[in-house]
């Protein structure tokens, strides 16, 4: 059995650090926000200053406070949607891959259908039919997002389960007569962990992106603060035309940073799943230290004669 040990490369560490910062902000953001995000009592359009780190909006609101308060909703929706979607994909992928036959055909077809239908338009349509109360409810929106985002993970998990199913150790427990669900849980499950982790990261990424997009389009309640609604207000007040970068940039960069952190962590998982991706190992400085003049090239194995006595003799 493989335990999920992600290679501790700088990329993964940076990813984890960024993500932790945002997770901490998710918890404490609304408490440490300096002002009420709705208060429009400040001088409008202030550039960043000591009083307003990220300046103020055209409506006279504090951008930093909106960012901090909005962090929680965005992240919670992203994580809930990601978790639910991953649970669905584990259930579908494992069932399809392990049971096979009719079950597999049915579930695979379902996954293929969901993969082929473009998620965002489907989401927009479903969302627009939701009663106004549910539209404004981040939880409902998160669940709908999960509904459109599980198929990719299910497909990958199914393929992996199928290849695991035929391996010796699973075969062995089958012969011993272990129960199906027990084999799935204790033999196959742990081997799927890296893929489950990757698909969790992806769906969180997808959910954060899609939720912000819906909010940006004004399709969620525009008076609950999240990073998408911040952009919605910026856009509808023509912040771009007025060159109000301090208003536009924070939510966009925050979304991009969360995405980057998830992607960086995923690099580590990728390298775990596919060892060939692991870095060739040497930075330019390390190369110089060991005496390599250049990066080792395919089909040109370096010659590093170590001690002077080994040095090339004249032939």
């Amino acid at each position: 059995m493989k335990a999920l040990r992600i290679p501790r490369s700088p990329k993964v560490i940076v990813g984890l650090v960024i993500l932790s910062v945002f997770i901490v902000l998710t918890v404490i953001g609304p408490w440490i926000a300096p002002y009420d995000p709705n208060a429009n009592t400040f001088i409008p359009n202030l550039t960043p200053s000591w009083e307003h780190w990220f300046g103020t909006t055209t409506l006279g609101q504090d951008v930093l406070s909106q960012l901090l308060v909005g962090c929680r909703v965005t992240m919670v929706v992203g994580f809930i949607a990601g978790l639910v979607a991953t649970l669905i994909s584990i259930a579908v992928g494992l069932a399809a891959g392990y049971i096979g036959g009719r079950t597999d055909e049915g579930l695979s077809l379902l996954a293929n259908v969901f993969l082929a239908i473009p998620g965002l338009p489907l989401l927009i349509v479903i969302n627009s039919y939701l009663p106004a109360g549910s539209q404004a409810n981040p939880l409902v929106v998160g669940l709908v997002i999960a509904l459109t985002g599980w198929a990719w993970g299910a497909r990958v998990l199914r393929a992996q389960t199928m290849s695991l199913r035929d391996r010796d150790f699973v075969e062995a427990s089958r012969i011993i007569g272990e129960k199906r669900w027990r084999i799935m849980w204790s033999e196959i499950g742990p081997n799927l962990l890296p893929i489950i982790a990757a698909s969790l990261l992806f769906t969180i990424l997808y959910a954060v992106g899609v939720y912000s997009t819906l909010a940006f389009l004004g399709l969620t309640n525009v008076s609950t603060w999240n990073w998408g609604t911040m952009m919605y207000w910026a856009q509808s007040n023509n912040a771009a035309l007025a060159n109000e970068w301090w208003w536009l940039a924070p939510p966009g960069v925050a979304i991009a940073l969360v995405g980057t952190s998830l992607a960086l962590i995923n690099f580590g998982i990728d390298e775990f799943i596919n060892p060939r991706l692991r870095a060739a190992g040497l930075t330019a400085r390390q190369r110089r230290r060991v005496g390599l003049t250049r990066r080792p090239r395919l089909g040109f194995t370096p010659v590093l004669r170590q001690s002077p006595t080994d040095a090339k003799k004249v032939s």
């Binding site: 473009p118 927009i124 349509v125 039919y129 970068w245 939510p251 080792p296």
Partner: protein, 326 residues
Amino acid sequence: MRTLLRRFAIYLFTAWTTITVNFILPRLMPGDPIQQLIGKLQGRVTPEMIKAIKAQFGQGLNQSMWTQYVHYINQLLHGDLGISITLSSPVSDVLSSQIWWTVGLIGVGAVVSFFIGTALGVLFGWTRGSRADAVIPAATFLQSVPYYFLGTILIMIFAATLHWFPLMGAYDPSLSPEWSWTYIASVLRYGELPLTSIVLSSLAGWMLGMRNMMVTTMSEDFVLMAVAKGLSRRRVMWHAARNAVLPSVANLALTIGLLVSGSLLVEQIFNYPGVGNLLVNAVGNEDYPLLQGIFLLITFTVLGANFLADALYYVLDPRTRTAAVH
């Protein structure tokens, strides 16, 4: 051929599912959105209009679901998508006049970003371990930037501040659409920035994926074999790249939907005509017939593109042509 036919069957099934979902959603949603809409529309639009909407969504007709369903499919088969509430003209007319903008912008953007991204991915994969690796974190960040955010920032910097590009729209508003050089030149000029923003935001994804595949492929024996055969570096790289691009093409089918969805927003940002812009407006105005029509159109286009990508894969990989492997 079997695989390809199988894919086709799946897409047909998906198309049917979409149509059915489209039929069921407004009828089964809690809170009866259509009833509410009609309530809001009373007095604002003509009685004929209200009748048309009622007919389309089966309100007050006392028909069985099944009759309605057959009727709905029949209408779709005749290209009848109903009448747009806000624009008071048939949805099919609205869409056919607007779709070319979208196909032009997003289609070109997708193709350009796929090619540039893949080519860069090949290069960065090939030079793995060199200084060029420094682009990876930057590309990862770029990949995570939402499309609409990137578009907004580009407008702010290059259009609003530097005035290098026109701010919004698809062509100079003083011109009227016609087949003239000035008009075409204007369309191209206005298309530059939206196109750039689409290409920039989807480029990094292709690039990173291709780089990974390239690195994986380069550890295959046949690449070392190409070196052992004394082929030039260019040729060796080509051997690897041709193989590495296959998963990218296979992924193409999965990614098109995501790509199109993201790009649709670019139209909204740039106030560019097209389906994405219509979609956002339709949602805002609760123009359900238009919304449904757009959803069907987008889904069918994506399904078509998916099938093209599958066919391309089939052409590129000989192993799919003999059923034994794969």
